[in-house]
Structure formats: C-alpha cells, structure tokens
Symmetry: C2
Subunit: 217 residues, 2 copies
Amino acid sequence: MSIFTPEVSIIIKEARPEDAVKLIEYTKIVGAQTDNLSFGKEGAGDTPEVEEFIKRIGSDSKSVMYFAWKNDDIVGCANISSMKRRMSHRANFAISVAKSEWGSGIGSALLEKCISFAKDNEIEIINLDTRSDNFRAISLYKKFGFVKIGRMPAFSKINGEYIDADLMYLDLREKSNNRRKIEAFERLEAIRRENKKEIDFNKEREEAMNKKHKIQP
Amino acid sequence: MSIFTPEVSIIIKEARPEDAVKLIEYTKIVGAQTDNLSFGKEGAGDTPEVEEFIKRIGSDSKSVMYFAWKNDDIVGCANISSMKRRMSHRANFAISVAKSEWGSGIGSALLEKCISFAKDNEIEIINLDTRSDNFRAISLYKKFGFVKIGRMPAFSKINGEYIDADLMYLDLREKSNNRRKIEAFERLEAIRRENKKEIDFNKEREEAMNKKHKIQP
C-alpha cells in the first residue's frame, strides 16, 4: 500500500525482525515528540528485545505489526495483538505516527490495514486505550467506528503526573441492522436484570446481616 | 496467615514453582465449576508453562501470587501482576476460589493480602475485570473500595456466547479527604475542558472541511 504525494511516497509494510534497529530509532523520535505513548525518549527497548517482539507478533496468526516507511525511515507504526483463550476473539490495537507526518493520512492508512487484517483473521473486537486528552487520536478512532467504554483514572504516570486514558472498542461482528437493535435491546434488558439482581443480592445480604445481629427491619 | 474453623484451617502462602502441579489440578476444578474465569475445565496450562508463570511472578518485585491451602489442596488463588514503564504504578489483580469454599472469607483474605502487598510495593492503582453479572465478586471488590470504570462488551466468549465484563480500579494513593475532593473537582473540570476542546476541535475540523468544499456556513 502506498500513499503518493508529489515528492515522496509512503509505503506500508509488515514488520520484519531485521527492522528492529530502525524501529528503535523511530520509537526514540516519537517517544521524545509527545507524551501520548507508553514510552518516552528512551524508546521501546533494546535490539534483542524488539527483535523478539517482532518475531513473536510474526509467528502469531492473529497478530500483526505494520510500519509506514518514508524512504529508509519508519514514520509510523501500528499493531494488532491477539489475546488468549476465552478472549481470543479480541485483540489490542496500538499506533504511533511521527509528528512530522501528522495530518498526512498515515494514521488512517495504518488503522485501515489493521482493521482489514483483523477482519480477515476472525478477530471480532478490537480494543485500544488512548490519553483522554488526545482528541486527534480519539477523533480518528471514532471515524473508524470505535466506541468509548470508560475513562481509566491514572492510566499512566509521566514525570510524576497521572494521565487518564479512554478505553475504546470496535465491534467487527457482522450483523444486520435488526440484529444490532435486538442486541442493543438485550443488553439494556441484561443491565436492568443485573441491577435488579444486584438490588436483590444486597437486600438478601442486608437481611442476613440483620438476622445475624438480631436487628428487626 | 490462617483462618481457623473448628475442623480445618486455611493457610495462605506465596506461590512456589513446585506448586505448579497442584495449581493446575485446582484450575481444572474451578474452571469446571463456573464460567467466571478466563479458562474452563481444561485448566490454566501445562506444568512447564505454569512453573514458568510462577517463577516470573516470583522474580518480579512488584508482582505476587498467593494460594489458600486446605490440607494439601489449593482452594483459592489470587495474584497481583505489575505493569511496565509508564504504567508501572499500576498492577492487575485476579482471583478465584473453589466453589466449596464460597462465603468462607477466603476471597476477602486473599484480596486483603494482595492489597497489602501492593501498598508495600509502591503500587498506586490496582485494576481488575470481572463478569458484569458476577455480583458476588463485584460486591467483594466494592467492599474493598474498588470503583467501576466501565462495562466492556464481549469481553470473553464462552461456547459461542459473548460475556460483558466490568472494569474496576482501586486507588491506593494516600490522600486526605480534602485532597480527594480537590482531585474529584479537578477531574470534573478536566472533563468539562475536554468536552469543550473536543467541541472546538470538531468545529475547527468542520470549518476546514467546509472551506475545502467551499461551503459557506
């Protein structure tokens, strides 16, 4: 896949273990540019670690990592990491783009590649987390259909400062519009039943406590 | 730590690699008893894998695994797993108790041990996930101060059925009551600012689009 501009083209390719050194260079650059990532200017590890990481992703049929290349440099990176056992229908998504390329469409192109990979590999739910104040990223995710689950307080800690994160998900399960409505209804019903059961459960517990302490209602 | 009953005492001890076989036996039992866990009756892996897992936890100063022993059998298990880099102030918590011991206080005892370990090891936030319909567990977590972050749809898939999970967190950062109020206020302010910025961001984007497509507002 390539995005052509008059001057230079961006090529998106799957990661190879021999790209480890280039990836580390890249993570040091993007890590220094923003505080949006899970690492800072120190980058994302040393060569053997990163090589091992790329190999592990490559050997897992439900995981993938893509790099956006501009000439000989990585300028963007995204990956899908599958989960295990009863969560193997889900995968985590992570992305970064060099600041110099923001607004160029590389983020969208990488995300599109990852969603397409997920669809082809029976991944049904994609999860991600993003700084709650990173509107640029949140706007991109919403454009692709991601929905917010909640806001996790103190998700990361950067130089002593606590940063909240939004947790989001994308539902890739194919369904008709009616199926969606039925499921939305069933979810609401489940929440209603759950609230009722919780009330019953708390009432029961309270009654047991009262009985234990011989309190008459 | 031990919980005495007239007949038999429960002993809580840190996991050792040589407990792997006992742990697998236990996970097969609890995996078959409920659909609340990340594994079923097949248990949580083979001996080398589980041994490796216990060793990894033991060698990490910010992670721990406790077993509740009844005579020679494990009847409960809980662990704290630390996170890396900018998330190293956080840890994940997981727990299971054999059905025969439900209501005996083993869950509370294991959770208390884990929280105490976390406090002693500079963990500031404990995160966990639980089936949204597991009121017994949610009630236990609330008792210890856990707060719900959100509900994750289709968190697990068991025999083709999708199960939602509640994500929760416990804030261990020491603070006065006033500090808590200030932070709650600051969080609300941040959300207000965030919403405003998002509105501004969307407005800006819309204006740019209109300009691009020569639409006059």
